[in-house]
């Protein structure tokens, strides 16, 4: 019975992604963040361009070390370099844009329209603070899991460690993912939004974890390919890694939208919910 309710809530949440079809403008923040990332990746990959090299050489050296100035290591290390830029970027700009998207999605939601809408600019700093906390709890366990997987011998044990790590990340994200919606609905400051978000997440934990896992699952094939960058460089053209990184960004536009649209759906059911 409980499983049925969980699955119903999960599918109800996912059905909220139709909002993007009715109002495509809610997609704009996701696309804008994707474009920003694509520009950064393209710039990092443009190291051999003589016009950009004077600026890019020190930047690439700082991000990837001396090996990143060599071919094909430059492309092999591209995902590592990008990740070093991505984490602060997603915690600040990314989360600000995604929170703006949440603002617009709630504005267009039947239940969300019923209450007064606080101004987004007044909560920009709160959105960034939530972003920093969200990124830290996502990246922290992720780093720990990566270290653990390296310590465990390859085989079933390593697969189990990866799965366990993914579950931990999914749970951590599920607890924090409602905070931007709380900001919009209640107009509170970041710490209160996080507290209320966690409290609400515990009520709808099952469907939320399923949504987060769906998103992680959608990203996993490209993430796996990017993690295999040295092998790809050896067997194919190293530039393939750049194309994979671009594909990952494109996929993130979709998955981030699916995550936040579903979370809005889970937060604003007809009865109960965050009001």
């Amino acid at each position: 019975m409980k499983l049925e309710r969980t699955l119903t809530s999960y599918f109800d949440g996912l059905s909220c992604t139709r909002i993007g079809l009715r109002s495509p403008t809610v997609l704009l923040p996701f696309v804008a963040f994707g474009l920003l990332q694509a520009i950064i990746v393209a710039l990092l990959a443009s190291l051999p361009n003589p016009a950009l090299a004077p600026v890019l050489v020190p930047v690439v050296r700082a991000l990837g070390g001396e090996p990143a100035l060599h071919y094909p290591e430059h492309f092999v290390l591209l995902p590592v370099m990008f990740r070093r830029v991505y984490l602060p970027l997603v915690a600040t700009v990314g989360f600000a844009l995604w929170t703006l998207a949440v603002w617009w999605m709630v504005d267009r939601h039947e239940v969300g329209r019923r209450g007064p809408a606080p101004r987004f600019r007044a909560h920009l700093l709160d959105a960034v603070l939530i972003g920093i906390v969200f990124t830290a709890v996502s990246a922290g366990p992720g780093r720990l899991v990566a270290l653990l997987v390296r310590l465990v011998p390859a085989g079933p044990a390593s697969h189990m460690a990866t799965l366990a790590g993914t579950a931990v990340i999914a749970c951590a994200q599920a607890l924090l993912v409602f905070a931007p919606v709380v900001l919009r609905i209640r107009g509170v400051r970041a710490p209160e939004a996080i507290r209320v978000g966690i409290h609400y997440a515990r009520r709808v934990f099952g469907p939320t974890v399923l949504v987060v896992l769906t998103v992680l699952l959608l990203n996993s094939p490209v993430d796996y390919l990017i993690a295999s960058a040295p092998r790809i460089a050896l067997h194919f053209r190293p530039e393939t890694i750049l194309y994979l990184q671009m594909l990952s960004i494109l996929l993130e536009i979709v998955t981030a939208y699916v995550l936040f649209a579903s979370v809005v759906g889970l937060a604003l059911p007809e009865e109960g919910g965050l009001r």
């Binding site: 190291l47 051999p48 090299a53 004077p54 600026v55 050489v57 020190p58 060599h70 071919y71 190293p238």
Partner: protein, 507 residues
């Protein structure tokens, strides 16, 4: 005001850290070009047995483009970071070696040899890389027919081994192939009739092997050095010294110079065939049979005893031994086939042609890819020709021709010496009085043969025209065809030398 301050704070450190990056970019560009060239090279290596010619061409073009561009010769290079300059130099060396390997793979031996030599002369190679490049140069120049250049490279390798402290350091791990270079060098000088150089290098080689054996006793390198010293004695025909050296190695139960049965067999063969000391040979061969019963070496020892007995007028004793080898399941196919053919020769001499014929046919049937089987059709044709049985000689020659052509075919499983097949074919035809036919057959360059067989066939055809048919015009025509078809190879060099001799003689 606040915004412009932020801009200054952000951008000044960034701009200040922007050092000149020309060297880094040039290195990056060369690395990318080298990677692309090596990408084709990797594809060629994956499909080595059937390397695709478009890939070889693409890889050669890519390496050539890379080497045509020498950024270090530009004035700007003087200001580059020394690490970047060193990297660029190593990239060019890698490209040179890669291109030389590809030239070698595409039979452009002369260009390969020149490039390997140039790479070594550039002086920026480690000991191992320099030695590998020199070995590549020696192999290429040998195949390009540049005999004197091969000897120069081998001499350079040898001197490098002698004089490089890295090599004598205890942690150096030099490819054991290089230890064969001194003895190969002496052999080449001996074969070229340059006794002064042969003596000089033999002395140096003996000192080299002795030093290596004493400085690295009980190591693999040390044992290889002792084996090299034995080979040196054999090349110099110092038979007693060779036997002493073998005995001294065998006296050490922990020796790793070679398998003890092989070394004992070698010593016994030196006694029997080189020193003509049959009693010591029989004793030594008997010991091999006793100590290594049921092995291939015991069979080889029995074959040697049979051969010695046949040579010393004891056909019955020889037959006993040959029969024992024929029926020994542990005998190597080459030894069993050789024993059968030797047994057949005894039967033929005793007038039992039917028995001999049966054995010769059996060899072809049981061991078709051995040297002895190659001799069998020749022995049959020669017998009928000698007996004046023209019809039978022609028929056996036709069968021999089919058999030899099947061995020479590119798709054949035969992995032995195709040149020996051509020799046997020539001898069969000459014995049957049809030298013109074999000269024409070998000179035609049959499409089903590999390039080496075609080239060797043309040279052999010219030999038949010159020595058997006394037709220097035809010989010159075949040699010219060989030069045109295999330019800048050892074959064209040999053909040119023979053309010079023939034309000089006609002048």
């Amino acid at each position: 005001m606040r915004r412009s301050f932020a801009a200054v704070v952000l951008f000044v450190p960034l701009v200040a850290s922007c050092a000149p990056v020309d060297g880094v970019l040039t290195r990056y560009r060369l690395e990318r070009e080298l990677w692309r060239a090596q990408f084709y090279e990797r594809r060629i290596n994956i499909a080595f047995a059937r390397a695709s010619s478009p890939d070889i061409r693409r890889a050669i073009d890519a390496f050539q483009r890379l080497l045509a561009d020498d950024p270090l010769s530009t004035p700007a290079a003087a200001a580059w970071n020394p690490d970047v300059v060193s990297d660029i130099r190593q990239l060019r060396v890698s490209a040179q070696i890669g291109l030389a390997n590809l030239y070698f793979l595409s039979d452009r031996y002369s260009e390969a040899g020149t490039l390997y030599s140039r790479t070594v002369e550039s002086g920026s190679l480690s000991l191992h890389r320099a030695m590998d490049a020199r070995l590549g140069a020696a192999r290429s120049l040998y195949l390009a027919g540049e005999t004197s250049a091969v000897m120069e490279q081998c001499a350079a390798i040898f001197h490098q081994l002698l004089e490089t402290p890295d090599f004598w350091g205890h942690d150096s791990a030099v490819n054991e192939d290089f230890l064969n270079v001194p003895v190969a060098l002496v052999r080449m000088y001996v074969e070229n009739g340059d006794s002064a150089r042969a003596n000089e290098y033999a002395r140096l080689a003996a000192v080299f092997y002795a030093r290596l054996a004493s400085e690295r006793p009980k190591t693999r390198l040390g044992w290889q050095a002792r084996l090299g010293a034995i080979q040196l004695h054999l090349v110099r025909r110092e038979w007693n010294a060779a036997v002493d050296a073998v005995d001294s190695v065998l006296a050490d139960p922990s020796q790793q110079a070679g398998a003890p049965d092989g070394l004992m067999l070698l010593a016994a063969e030196i006694h029997g065939f080189a020193l003509d000391d049959t009693s010591r040979a029989y004793r030594a061969l008997g010991e091999v049979i006793h100590r290594f019963a049921g092995t291939g070496s015991a069979s080889a020892a029995r074959y040697d005893i049979g051969t010695l007995r046949a040579a010393h007028g004891d056909p019955e004793g020889a037959t006993l031994m040959f029969r024992a080898v024929e029926s020994d399941p542990n005998a190597e196919p080459a030894i069993a086939a050789r024993a059968t053919v030797s047994h057949a020769a005894i039967l033929e001499r005793q007038g039992d042609w039917d028995g001999a014929f049966t054995l010769l046919k059996r060899v072809q049937l049981l061991y078709p890819y051995t040297d002895a089987a190659i001799d069998a059709p020749m022995a049959i044709t020669r017998h009928y020709a000698r007996m004046g049985e023209t019809q039978l000689a022609r028929r056996s020659l036709d069968r021999a021709r089919d058999y030899y052509l099947s061995l020479l075919d590119k798709a054949s499983q035969f992995a032995g010496d195709r040149s020996a097949v051509q020799t046997a074919m020539v001898e069969s035809y000459v014995a049957a009085g049809r030298a013109a036919d074999v000269a024409e057959l070998l000179g035609s360059g049959r499409p089903g043969w590999d390039e080496t067989s075609v080239a060797a066939g043309m040279l052999r055809s010219a030999d038949v025209y010159t020595t058997v048919l006394h037709d220097s015009t035809q010989a010159c025509a075949v040699l010219k065809k060989c030069v045109e078809r295999f330019p800048k190879t050892q074959y064209s060099k040999m053909a040119e030398r023979r053309l010079d001799e023939l034309e000089g003689r006609s002048d």
